[in-house]
Subunit: 290 residues, 4 copies
């Protein structure tokens, strides 16, 4: 009889609840969770342990929080008051075949991985995770667009900057809601795809010749794109939603000066759909382990 | 030279600001507004008057609030502290060719109209207004669905009850967001249309054989449809949004008992998109007058 | 034990093959077919009979061809060389509770029904059948549009006249293919629905102010709509597809004079998708009988 | 004053008519065409020349047929009876700054380009051209699917193999027509995108567990994918359309043996929409030259 795959989940946020439930459905896995002590024992039907009680040497996989490990070796566990610290000694005890999952890599984590010759899978870097997460991200943007405007998305002129993994989904879904979608991109192939999607495309170099009609602008480009020059052309009752990671792509100070509402909306999957976000992680971890 | 059409707008809410602006763009119209005295004079560029200063005899059209006139003859003016009362004498002074607009007719109003032989257009009864308003109503439902669930609309099983003016739009837009939409209706032709829309249809008589898989239920039928028998089949983490006018179609007490979140969401166009709602009114009034 | 429902299928075309197969799956039914003698015995697994061998008195339902009965009492049976004639005597023998199905009623048939006090269901008059058939009709129009133009439907300006059962589907599907769809209608509520569908609407009275940009025009209105005045405004390399029943809504003679390709495309469901068309008939007959 | 850009178009098929017309609209260009002598002089309003009369030394750009140059140096000119041969001497006369366009590169052409140090743009290799052409390709597949089945695309189970430039458009458009689309791919990110598009995805390794339900299979993968093992699982009344370039991805001999209709449909843009295909070429050439 084949042995079960032993997996430890160390810390994490609301997404990890659903992720753990889903992983627990796979009966090839034997799970233990650390850092969920504020939850009722029966919550997942999964064994809760303290870090020191974990049989570290026998683990096949370790799942760290989406945020990785901070510079002091601590991890984030929102359902625990304990401090969870993963020392060099702790990493030393891990078997060489262990697979570590994290959302993003961090300097401390990268160093441990290198030192001990381990395998790290930073989930948020994966194309499939980014595409799956684009859906809850977009729903978050839709919610904000409805909340922060006094007009409908339907028939509004919605500008989407970037046609990457998030941008394509944002463009698709706002189109599905009846907006007039304009996509700004810099690659000829992206503009061809925009045309194929039945949307209006423009080259980012010419953005200011289009933005006057913009009602809602959604930026997905992690670069300084919505500069003061662009903002000058935008109506003061337009809404700007910046989805790009810090520092974002919008000159927020200038937007404020012009009286334009500009929202830097980060971490949307975990905020609007932690259950879905957890299922996404479980699905991909499942595929990576099997 | 043709005379201008003289229109008085008496009271109203946020929707009436945009409506007034739009009507003011038509230069065949001469507008006066009563009941907006809390707003800055220059706000619309439209003349503000008191009821007593209005040349009632010369009016061609009168626009009453969406809510009509209450049993005491008073109208609702959210941008004024004054009480506006339309007496039988006031109606007596109106020209016989005047057209009166209201959202809904009310007993007092109906009586005045009958007594004085006037023409009344209750806008909210009109098919075109109901269809245009279905869009902001649906966006309101989408916002609620994103806010009150921890999963995405995408891939969720969304049940829409009724394929009337609102139901068709709700079904269309949730489909546009990637939900698996199931529509319950009672007419064979509605079920045929559901199939043509690429959605799943079921006869309302058989609702309980389907509802177990329901993640979000949106009712548009103004009749007791989501009874305790139906609610018994629904998962406790499902979300119910009832859009039907009071008293709605959901057994809210029973839903509460079962721990199911059930929201009776009324007046959504005015809440989520007053500007669009105002434009809709202006568009239809324009067509009715011209 | 409940008796089976006895159904005779008399004549019919390719659609009736699939219809018969589907009805035969219902084991409450006992089927006999007349007028399919050119087909192999085992084709349907359904009993083939001659008209004279039919136990007419015992029938519960009779299914006539889509085209009904001609003025001489003959029916159309494309899979037979025999002449099938339904005389007054034959009708006389039918039980009073029998249900007769036909596509359309015809004078001879209507007279027999009236004389003998029978129940007739002309399937093509039903809303549900018309909506289901709108799908294969539209696919036929799509095929013609691809065949008879040298440009793509995607990005073409496609004008749809009428927003009835066929028009709505035509508009929906051409939109799904990326066309810029313009719908002409005369009802304010239809124009509201067109807006909600995310399409461009215009009042039929103003058609000539829009048609200059038209690449493909699809008429669904059974009235003289595409007159010489309209045709004058249309580009000579545009394509016109008239779906309306005879005589259609297009001035074909004038179109020819102007060198515009105009196709009167009738009976599309039976031509492009007889299997689907047969399934539709079976589905609705099933619902009517049960 | 800036000089005009001198462009020679040498040979080509129906697509080149529209392409030439579109390029002629750009008044920075001075065009000459060779190999269109069967057409009326006034057809394009563009100067027709013989190869020997061309001022080769002064050209800024040369546009060759989509098919490039054959091994003997000849090019394909469907609107001419003349043989057009481009010798090494002819290439020698070209200025070093000339840009040459072709659909695909060929050995003879590649050699000339290398020998004379010229710049060649094989249009069909470009991502943007492939994406634009995916649209007429897909419309061709739609036409074939309607013609060669007796059921509707709506509600049919349509399998699309590959989610490249063509596959994505095929999947999108058949979805737009109401098919149940299943996409087979091998990359996890492609399967994530399929989910985001609201379609069903499966890994190509598991294709045979899905194909039993397939009504229409459309292959876009230029590799042996639809093998006899796959064909064994497919219904004999299913339709297979292979879009992949020669030799395609389908075991046609085996399909024939099993009685399955399998069509190898190549060159669809030029066949179903030469005007659009020509516009695509003109658009991209314009962008490359400017
Ligand atoms: N707010 C949230 O909740 C949330 C959720 C998920 C992701 N995100 C963030 O959203 C952003 C986009 O994520 P993604 O997955 O879509 O990334 P992606 O697939 O890499 O797409 C990035 C897009 O930005 C464009 N771009 C990058 N640099 C550019 C520049 N200098 N000028 C013009 N265009 C440029 C890229 O175009 P090229 O292809 O031409 O380079 C591409 O279209 C990231 O910052 C990500 O962290 C936020
Ligand atoms: N929440 C908001 O902000 C908001 C906004 C707009 C409208 N509304 C309300 O939403 C409701 C629907 O409006 P609408 O414009 O869509 O109305 P509608 O066009 O009349 O549609 C009503 C639908 O309910 C069905 N129905 C009515 N009585 C039924 C019964 N006893 N059993 C089964 N089905 C029944 C109708 O089916 P049949 O065709 O078979 O009768 C139809 O599909 C109304 O109460 C309206 O006041 C609310
Ligand atoms: N070619 C085929 O294979 C095929 C297949 C199915 C049906 N058909 C034919 O297609 C036609 C449409 O069928 P349908 O089921 O869509 O019918 P329908 O539901 O009755 O729709 C007819 C449409 O035409 C409009 N209309 C009628 N008379 C008009 C007039 N005088 N002026 C302006 N608009 C007018 C109606 O508008 P209002 O609502 O304002 O009256 C409605 O939008 C019929 O002739 C039918 O026999 C053909
Ligand atoms: N019939 C016509 O009129 C017409 C028109 C245009 C194009 N075409 C032809 O259609 C085909 C597709 O063109 P395209 O532009 O879509 O190409 P593409 O963008 O390169 O896409 C090719 C697809 O095939 C997949 N693939 C390739 N080799 C594979 C293998 N061994 N196993 C599994 N999947 C494989 C690729 O997946 P990965 O990303 O995983 O490699 C990708 O999804 C080409 O042969 C092209 O010449 C035909």
């Amino acid at each position: 009889m084949k042995n079960k795959i032993r997996i430890a989940i160390l810390g994490g946020d609301a997404r990890y609840l659903e992720m753990t439930k889903k992983l627990a459905e796979n009966n090839h896995f034997e799970l233990e969770v650390v850092g969920f002590d504020q939850l009722n024992e029966g919550f997942f039907g999964v064994k809760q342990t303290d870090l020191e009680d974990l049989s570290v040497e026998e683990l096949d996989a370790v799942i760290l929080p989406v945020t990785g490990i901070d510079e002091d070796g601590k991890i984030n566990a929102v359902f625990s008051n304990q401090k969870i610290h993963l020392s060099t000694d702790w990493f030393e005890r891990l078997s060489k075949h262990v697979v570590m999952f994290t959302g993003i890599s961090t300097p401390y984590l990268a160093e441990q991985i290198a030192t001990h010759g381990l395998k790290l899978i930073p989930l948020m870097n994966r194309d499939d995770v980014a595409i799956y997460n684009a859906v809850p991200t977009t729903e978050g943007a839709i919610m904000l667009a409805i909340q922060h405007t006094n007009f409908t998305i339907h028939d509004a002129n919605v500008f989407v900057l970037g046609l990457g993994r998030v941008g394509m989904t944002v463009a698709n879904k706002f189109n599905g809601l009846g907006a007039n979608v304009f996509v700004g991109a810099r690659k000829a192939s992206d503009l061809a795809r925009v045309n194929e999607m039945g949307l209006n495309g423009f080259h980012l170099d010419e953005i200011t010749t289009y933005t006057e009609s913009c009602d809602i602008l959604i930026n997905t480009i992690p670069a300084s794109i919505v500069t003061s020059d662009v903002l000058k052309t935008i109506k003061s009752n337009a809404l700007i939603i910046d989805l790009a990671s810090k520092p974002g792509g919008v000159d927020f100070a200038y937007a404020k000066k012009r009286g334009i509402t500009a929202i830097h909306a980060l971490g949307l999957p975990g905020r609007v759909a932690p259950k879905t976000a957890g299922e996404i992680l479980a699905k991909v971890i499942n595929q990576c382990i099997l």
